[in-house]
């Protein structure tokens, strides 16, 4: 699960992402190894701290406004550096397509952005 925050015109948007990643690692050289992968995820966002700026006709006054749901699809390439035998850090980046639909109005939209991810990997086996 991933979480994230962003500000909107009517409050703070909080996102929850549940997804799967697939990796293809290239051979390791001097503790470095490159990898490629793809990711698909279910995305859900909600609106917090709603501020209609005094506008009583704002659609944000409607209960449930700001709840969106949709998907994220992405591909990435990255590199991992092995610090210890079973401990590594990695970084990857790639294009992600994120599509969401707002629940109250039905407004939908998709964006294509570059997303970077960092991780600390612990190898159990």
């Amino acid at each position: 699960m991933l979480t994230g925050n962003a500000s909107s015109d009517v409050g703070s948007v909080q996102a929850f992402v549940f997804g799967l990643r697939g990796y293809k690692f290239l051979p390791e050289r001097h503790s470095w190894r490159f990898y490629l992968g793809a990711e698909t995820a279910y995305v859900k966002t909600s609106l917090h701290g709603i501020n209609t700026n005094g506008n009583p006709n704002s659609v944000a006054t409607v209960s449930g406004f700001g709840d969106t749901s949709g998907y994220a699809l992405g591909a990435f390439g990255g590199v991992e550096y092995r610090l210890l035998k079973r401990l590594a850090i990695d970084f990857d980046v790639g294009p992600y397509l994120i599509g969401l639909r707002e629940r109250v109005t039905g407004v939908s939209g998709s964006t294509l952005d570059f997303v970077g991810n960092t991780a600390i990997n612990v190898y159990l086996f």
Partner: protein, 420 residues
């Protein structure tokens, strides 16, 4: 953190990344933040292109903001020459209007307005029409809400017949019917149509049945002066006259008062448009709430106030809670204490002594009337208590004689308690 079981792995992503929001169409650190930014775009798009009125969502932009503009009404809502007065806000008519009414009234020489046209007072939108039903299947009347901009609504414009444009509004509309009469006299059912119908100043809205002029809701301002502001809608109860252009405002200010059919009686005490805020802390003056009863409606509560046209006249406005004392009565209060504690102005009742009233005049819209024959020989006792004098005990008694001396005053088990 990720946990790998093999060099080539497929696994559930289970890491968390929280970082400050980043600009759209840019690099995002963490898919969570990218998703939040995407959600923000969708929310902004929806907010910019959709509006809501009373919970109904429209595929239309929100009404524009009023900004600081007060001259929002540019045209006369009524042009008929029989329209000669505007009854100030603060009128009482218990139990429905036990507290000072938050709206003014159209005043006609004919008393009623059977064939008088109502026009849009400015450019704006009709946001709601309520069709009121009595007995039968045809509406007995309609109530219109008009908004010149987002923050201001002129409510409860009543007509007998609705203009065709409002009867079948173009554009989005939503209608909901119920057996609730919306608290209008005689109505046993209603259909509420929420809409966002643009109208121009002077457009015909309806005909006949004009009564209430307001209330005005203005979310830019808040009423002040209530002892317990949490009990009141502080955005509601402003004077409609103040929202007209200067020439119309001057013309309407000049007719603030009442007419009795032949004579216009102006209100001469500021604020000329009256007020619904009459609370005076530390005294008995103002609004009193029956414990445990909801508000609105006004029905179970009590107001000890001054008349909306003659503020020097005291008014008992009693709802349904004091046995034998349901209605409105005027009296001419003593303006200075004389040690009798009889018929004092409410602003002078400012301690924990018992006070007595024995003058109950029939309250007319054009001033105090003659003594009410039904209350001759009755007295009203009242006593404040509590550290901030926020509890009132009150009782109507029937000794058959006026108040007499304070030594004879005592409450019985019929006394009723109210709170601020």
């Amino acid at each position: 953190m990720s946990i790998f079981s093999d060099r080539t792995a497929i696994f559930a992503a289970a890491f968390c990344a929280i970082a400050p929001a980043t600009p759209a169409l840019a690099f995002h650190l963490g898919l969570g933040n990218a998703a939040a930014a995407a959600g923000s775009k969708v929310v902004n798009n929806a907010n910019a292109n959709y509006s809501a009125i009373n919970g109904t969502v429209f595929d239309a932009p929100p009404l524009p903001s009023c900004g600081s503009n007060m001259a929002l009404f540019t045209s006369a809502p009524v042009t008929d020459p029989t329209f000669v007065s505007i009854n100030p806000i603060g009128h009482v008519f218990p139990p429905g209007h036990t507290f000072p009414a938050d709206h003014a009234y159209f005043g006609f020489t004919t008393g009623v307005s059977p064939n008088i046209n109502l026009y849009a007072p400015g450019d704006g939108w009709v946001t709601q029409v309520i069709a009121l039903y009595g007995v039968g299947n045809s509406p007995d009347g309609y109530v219109i809400n008009f908004s010149p901009c987002a923050e201001v609504t002129l409510m409860n414009l009543s007509v007998n017949t609705l203009a065709p444009a409002l009867l079948n509004p173009s554009g989005p509309a939503s209608t909901s019917c119920s057996s609730f009469g919306e608290n209008f006299p005689g109505a046993v059912a209603s259909c509420v149509t929420t809409m966002q119908l643009p109208v121009k100043a002077g457009d015909l809205l309806g005909n006949g049945g004009l009564v209430d002029f307001g209330p005005i809701i203005d979310t830019r301002f808040q009423l002040s002066g209530f002892i317990d502001p949490g009990r009141h809608d502080l955005n509601r109860g402003f004077c409609p006259v103040n929202y007209f252009t200067p020439s119309l405002k001057a013309a309407y200010t000049a007719i603030l008062g009442v007419n009795n059919g032949t004579t216009f009686i102006p209100r001469t005490t500021p604020p000329l448009c009256g007020t619904i805020v009459q609370d005076l802390a530390g005294t008995v003056q103002g609004d009193w709430f029956f414990p445990g009863a909801s508000y609105p409606p006004d029905n179970p509560h009590l107001a000890l106030i001054h008349d909306s046209v003659y503020p020097s006249t005291g008014t008992f406005s009693s709802g349904t809670s004091i046995p034998g004392f349901v209605g409105a009565w005027d009296f001419f209060p003593k303006q200075a204490a004389d040690n009798t504690r009889i018929d004092y102005d409410f602003s002078l009742v400012n301690d924990t002594e018992i006070y007595c009233y024995d003058s109950f005049l029939i309250a007319f819209s054009n001033g105090a009337g003659v003594p009410d024959p039904n209350l001759v020989g009755d007295i009203l006792l009242m006593q404040l208590s509590g550290p901030s004098l926020d509890t009132l005990k009150i009782e109507l008694q029937t000794p058959g004689t006026p108040c007499g001396g304070a030594g004879t005053w005592a409450f019985t088990s019929n006394a009723v308690t109210f709170q601020r």
